[in-house]
C-alpha cells in the first residue's frame, strides 16, 4: 500500500502532474509514510528526468515540469519533517536574481528551477535587483549561495559591486557567490572575485553542489 503511494508520487512527478503530486504527498502523510522516504522518491524522480535531459531524450519543458511538480509536493513533506523535529534535507539556501538595470529573466528563472530540482531551497528575487536587496536577502535567508544573472555587458559590473558590499559587510566568507548570464565569461567571473561561473543552468545547479562540497 505505502509502496504504491510512493510509486504513484514518483510517477506524478515523472508525468509532470503538479496537483496530483501534492495530493499524493498529502495522502502519503495521512497513511503515515515516512516523509524522508517520500522526499527520496521525489528527488529520484527529478534526477531521472535530469538524466533524460542530459542524454538528449527530454527537453527543457520536461525538466522544468518535473521540477515544478516536485516543488508543489515539497512544502507539504517539508512541513511534516519539521513537525517531527527531523532536519529538513536541503542542500543549502540559494538567493537568486538578475542584477540591477537588467530585466532579462529567462535564464535566471531556469537557474532557479533547476537549483530547486537539485534539492536547494531557492529564493527568487526577480529581475532588476539592486545590490542592497541582494545583501538584505542574503542576511534574511542566511543564504549559503548568492547566484546572480546578468545578460548585458552594461549590467555585468553590478555583480562586482554586490561582491564589494558583501566584503564591506563582512559577509563574503559566509556566502559563496556564483554568476552567470549571456554576457559573462569565466575570465570576468574570476576577475570580479566570484567563486564560480557556469554558462548553462543545469551546469549551474551542479556548480552549486560543488561550491558547498555536496
Amino acid at each position: 500500500m505505502s509502496n504504491e503511494i510512493l510509486e504513484n508520487l514518483k510517477k506524478a512527478i515523472l508525468e509532470y502532474e503538479s496537483e496530483k503530486a501534492a495530493n499524493l504527498a498529502r495522502e502519503a502523510l495521512e497513511k503515515k509514510i515516512d516523509p524522508a522516504k517520500a522526499l527520496n522518491v521525489m528527488t529520484e524522480a527529478v534526477r531521472q528526468v535530469g538524466d533524460g535531459f542530459g542524454r538528449g531524450e527530454l527537453w527543457l519543458p520536461d525538466l522544468v515540469g518535473a521540477a515544478d511538480a516536485m516543488q508543489s509536493a515539497m512544502p507539504i513533506i517539508q512541513k511534516e519533517i519539521e513537525r517531527k523535529g527531523m532536519k529538513v534535507e536541503t542542500l543549502g539556501v540559494v538567493v537568486v536574481g538578475t542584477v540591477f538595470g537588467d530585466i532579462h529573466s529567462i535564464g535566471k528563472t531556469m537557474v532557479c528551477t533547476l537549483l530547486a530540482a537539485e534539492g536547494f531551497t531557492v529564493y527568487d528575487l526577480g529581475v532588476n535587483v539592486t545590490a542592497e536587496k541582494f545583501i538584505e536577502a542574503v542576511k534574511k535567508y542566511k543564504a549559503d549561495i548568492l547566484a546572480m544573472s546578468a545578460l548585458m555587458t552594461m549590467t555585468a559590473p553590478e555583480q562586482r559591486k554586490v561582491i564589494a558590499i558583501l566584503k564591506k559587510e563582512n559577509l563574503r566568507d559566509k556566502v559563496k557567490v556564483m554568476v552567470g548570464g549571456g554576457s559573462l565569461t569565466e575570465e570576468f567571473a574570476k576577475n570580479i572575485g566570484a567563486d564560480g561561473y557556469d554558462p548553462t543552468a543545469p551546469g549551474g545547479a551542479k556548480l552549486a553542489r560543488r561550491l558547498l562540497n555536496k
Partner: protein
Amino acid sequence: MAMKGFTRKFKPLEIITEEQVEAIHRGILDVLQTTGVRFESKRALKLFEKNDCQVDYDNMRVKFPPGLVEECLRRCPSSFRVKAREPKNDLIIGGNTVYFVASPGMQTVDLDTWEPRPATKKEYYDTVKIMDALPNLHLFCCYTPYFGFEGIPEVMKIPEGLAAKIRNSNKFTWSCFSNDCEIFNIKMVKAVGTETIILAMMASPPLTYYNSAIECAFRTLEADLPIGVDTGTVFGATGPATIAGSLVTYTAELVAGIVLIQLIKPGTRTFIAGFPHPQNMRSGSPAFGDIGISLFDVAFNQICRKYEIPCRNTASAYSSSKKMDFQCGYERGIPAILSAVSGAQFIHVHGGMYGELAHHPIQDILDDDVAGMIGRFIEGVEVSDETLAIDLIEKVGPIPGFYLNKEHTRKWWRKEQFVPEVADRLTYPEWINSGKKTAFDYAKKRMEEILATHKVDPPLTNSQEEDIERILKEAREYYRKKGLITDEEWETYKKVLR
C-alpha cells in the same frame, strides 16, 4: 526624393484567414481588458487613469477599455516619412514598400576561429562605411554593426555608436536607450538635421513595461520624433508555446505601448518593431533560425496590415550557425523571402551572424546580394504586349530559333534578371581556373575595394562635426558625474579617443 527601397507588386502571402485574424484581434482586446499590462511609471498610470483605463496602483496594472484601444490604433498614420541627413535617404514607411535593415550583433567574429571578440574602433567605423556603400541596405538598426567598440565605457557605447553612424554614413538610423542616453542621441540627430526612430517603447514580456522605456518614450515624443514600439517574446518562456497564443500576448504588449504613445501625443508616427522567437528547448535561448519565427512573422504582418501600422520582421536577422555556412544561408534566405512576400515594411537581413551576438562586414556584403535578389522577386513579373513577346516567339519559332542575338533580349534581360555582386557564378572549369573562389572570397575583395574607394557623400560639415563632438563630451561628463564611468574605464577610454 526618398530612398526607393523595393516595392511588392502583388498581393501579400497570407497564412491565416480573415476570421483567424479577427480571433487574434479579439484575443488581444480581451487580454488588454481582462489581464491588463503592468506599467512601472506613475506618470503613465495617471495618464491611463485620466483616459478611463482601470488602474491598479499597487500592482501598477492597467486594464484597457477596447474602445480606447481601437481608437488609439486608428490614430497611428499608415504611412509616413522620416528624414535622413540626405533627402535621397529619407524613408517613406508603409504600404508595400520594403526596406532592408542591418542586423545588430554584439561583437565581431574572428574569421579563422569563428569566435566572437569585441570590435575595435576602426573596425566599427570601417564596417559603417561598408554598409553605407551597399545599395540594398537602406538603413541602420540601433546596435548595428556592433554594440559599441573596444575600450569605451558601457554607458557610452550607444552614443559613440550613433556618432560613428552619423559620421560615416548618411543613411537613416534607428536608435535605442539605456541610462538616459536617448537625451544625447536626440541632440546628435537634431544637430545634423536628421531624425531617428528610437525603439523607445520597449516592453518586457510578459505584459510589462519598465520605467526606463516609458521615460524614453516621453522624451522621444517631446522631441517630436517618430517612435518604435518593441517587445521580444520567447514562445514557451515569456509567451505561450503556441504561435497563436504568443501572437496574442506579443501584440497585446505592443498595442498597450501604442495606446500610451497615442495618448501622450495623438498622431505620432509609430512603427512596430518586435523580436519574436520560439524557445530552444535544449539551451533555453531563443531558437534563432527556427521556422516558427517566420510562421509568427507572416501572421503578424497580416495583423499589422489590419491595423495599418508599419512593422518590421527579424526572423532573417540571425542564424543559429556560428559560421557563414550553408545553415546560415538557409536560415537567413527562407525567412527573408517569407517576410518580403508577406508584407513587412522592414526586414533585417544584412550582417547578422549567430543570435544577435555577432556581426561581420563580409556577411553584410554577402547579404546585399540576398537582399537584392529578394527585392527583385517582390517587384514581380511585368506583363505587357512587349514582355509577352508573342510576335518574337512567332518570329523565332522552333529549333534552330535563338533569342540571344535579338534586340528584345538586349533591351530586357537586365531588367528581368538580378545580377549578384559577389556570388560565384562561374562554370566549373572557370571556377577551377579562378583558384576555386567562393562568394566569401569575392566579398572579401569587395570589402577591400569599398574601404579603399568609398566616400561618404556629403561628409559632415565642420560645424556638424563640432556639434557631435560637443554632445559626446556632454554625455561623458554626465556619466562621469553620475559615477557610471569609473576612473579605470576613463583612462582606457581616453586612449581610445586619442
